[in-house]
Point group: C2
């Protein structure tokens, strides 16, 4: 008990010079106490109460070996008594580790991403880390700033959801060997650790399935053009047609944006063609719902008059309106794998980059069937 006072004093006075400065120090301390609103117990308080040094308290908090059992219990009792909670910031500063990872994304409010987040959140929690979520809302100029701040003492590593083009800050991070993982980035990213779905192969398989059903005129509604997956999916579409010897008809290809409203209008356009498609593929389930709406409003029956194939397999796909046939990406798994990869990088940042490609799966439900009328090629 008496030791404690000494320790505290030693701390306060380390390097102090004169009596006057001592007096000053005291008044400063008073002011600081007044300024700090929430004065909670520190390891020094715990040390005082339990009669050990502050470093021993620190060791107990961090579960170090080489602390006598009786001491550990005394310290833990003191912590419980005082309601001690470690000061995350101070610990981060001293140790250089924050036990938190950052997640940087443009938006969180779409069903695709919220599932990925779930996987991330779950795995981060398993690893004993915290998750710091930052949404940029497409303000690209804020993105670099966020990354700089986050990577600078706020988090130990970064998960980034990115469109096609690699921003400059990615190069910075790479040069510094800062641990980060790109999610759903199906474009070139030299030297980066990336997780994405097999967009190309998945789409090819889906289109091949439609062709196998007998479809020859297959509409393609793309995703946002600034997203890598969009191009890969189109490549898969092309590949499937090529393999089946079906010529690509530009009129059947429409640019979309993953969203329902655009899915509706794009489908309406396709359906009003002189030779409308008998099947439509969209780059997202949400957009596929829009296609279903357009089909309904055009008086078409799905799948009799029109087959619709989505991409993602979000939860709603199975129960909303018609059960949607779709190409499933393992969204939750993607989130989890991304975190696992990041954890590995945290342990050793120098390891060579890996691209992890998650397999997709064709999920046939009730919106796909052989074409009713054989269309003239």
């Amino acid at each position: 008990m008496t030791t404690s006072g000494r320790i505290r004093a030693a701390r306060s006075l380390s390097g102090s010079s004169s009596a006057r400065s001592e007096a000053t120090a005291t008044s400063i301390e008073g002011a600081a106490l007044a300024a700090r609103r929430h004065t909670r117990p520190t390891i020094f308080d715990v040390a005082r109460v339990s009669g050990v040094s502050y470093s021993t308290v620190s060791r107990v908090v961090n579960g170090h070996a080489y602390v006598r059992e009786s001491t550990r219990q005394r310290v833990q009792a003191a912590m419980a008594e005082l309601g001690y909670v470690a000061h995350v910031t101070a610990r981060a500063l001293a140790s250089g580790r924050t036990q938190a990872v950052g997640l940087l994304a443009q938006e969180i409010d779409n069903p695709f991403f919220s599932v990925v987040i779930k996987g991330i959140d779950q795995e981060v929690s398993v690893a004993g880390y915290d998750l710091l979520l930052c949404t940029t809302h497409s303000r690209r100029e804020k993105e670099a700033e966020y990354v700089a701040r986050l990577s600078h003492g706020m988090v130990d590593g970064l998960l980034i959801v990115l469109p096609t083009r690699l921003p400059e800050y990615v190069e910075h991070l790479r040069a510094e060997q800062y641990p980060f993982v790109l999610i759903d980035h199906d474009s070139d990213a030299p030297g980066c650790n990336v997780i994405n779905a097999a967009n190309r192969d998945g789409t090819r398989a889906g289109i091949a399935y439609l062709i196998e059903l007998g479809h020859r005129r297959i509409g393609f509604i793309s995703g946002r053009p600034d997203v890598g997956a969009t191009h890969e999916r189109f490549a898969g579409y092309q590949a499937a047609l090529l393999e089946a010897g079906i010529p690509l008809d530009d009129r059947l290809v429409v640019e979309g944006d993953f969203l329902e409203s655009r899915g509706y209008t794009a489908a309406a356009d396709l359906l009003s063609l002189a030779q409308p498609p008998t099947a439509i593929f969209t780059s997202s389930d949400v957009a596929a719902f829009g296609v279903l709406g357009a089909a309904r409003d055009a008086g078409l029956q799905v799948p009799r008059d029109l087959s619709v194939l989505g991409f993602d397999d979000i939860e709603e796909a199975s129960y909303r309106g018609a059960a949607l046939s779709t190409i499933r990406q393992p969204l939750r798994e993607m989130g989890r794998v991304a975190v696992q990869r990041l954890m590995s990088l945290l342990a050793d940042p120098s390891q060579p980059a890996i691209r992890t490609v998650m397999e997709t799966e064709l999920v046939v439900r009730q919106t796909t069937a052989p074409p009713h009328r054989v269309s003239s090629t």
Copy 2:
């Protein structure tokens, strides 16, 4: 330039004792450098390059007055040259402020909440703060731990989305005058700053509108019973019936959970009653979609055979399937107001608590109409 070395040295040696300890210090420094992976420039480096003291650099970074313009420019040039980024953690530790607020919620992946978050995110950004999002996934035992950690140096204030019962930690926070705001907590919360919608009055107005249309048998599908708003909405339902002199029929009241699937089954139950309702109110738009599905599967036309009234007015309400009549809560505004209140508390934590009740608005779209057949009361 030469000053810098002195400053650094003075720092390193403050309180040092002997030559041996100096040597030790050096080797420690080396080890530390090796351990810290990302050695980025600090204010000391900027100070060295620009030839001023580190405190001047700090003042420039923080935009203090009393820095000569030429000095400021020199420092800024040095910062740009070195690519200096402030170390958030260190700054937080030294100043006691983190410039971040925490948001604690169970889930983020429902359309209700994602809109609230948008408002929060926007307003937080306007205020120049960062947002730290924590989801507890209903693991209540983790909640208290999160709050303790967050309130302990990670963030300056807390936004909390809470079910009915106030957890113990809320009392702690209050006792410590830690700034926090409860969102969507329509239950007693003495001494707490709370934001919620006018659940009771809004529902009463909605039900009154249905009664005015001529409905007498109005089904009520509640929200989750552990949420305060659920009870207030039921109270509004009761009040409207009472005012209209319509006796409450228990068979028309079903417990729900805000979700679509339960909305479907609950509606199916209501519709299979001997005397089914001619209108159904649900405590969320999402659940109302389930009701619409059940009506469709029961061969009923909406609104001819069944009126459906939701609550929330999420985005989908206006475009998904039938345009849904609903009671609009200003979700985005609620998020924004919560942040504004928190900012005010940050400035002065001692001010008396306020409950902010946001008005709701009846939005009549295409799922409500006078009953087709006059039902026998």
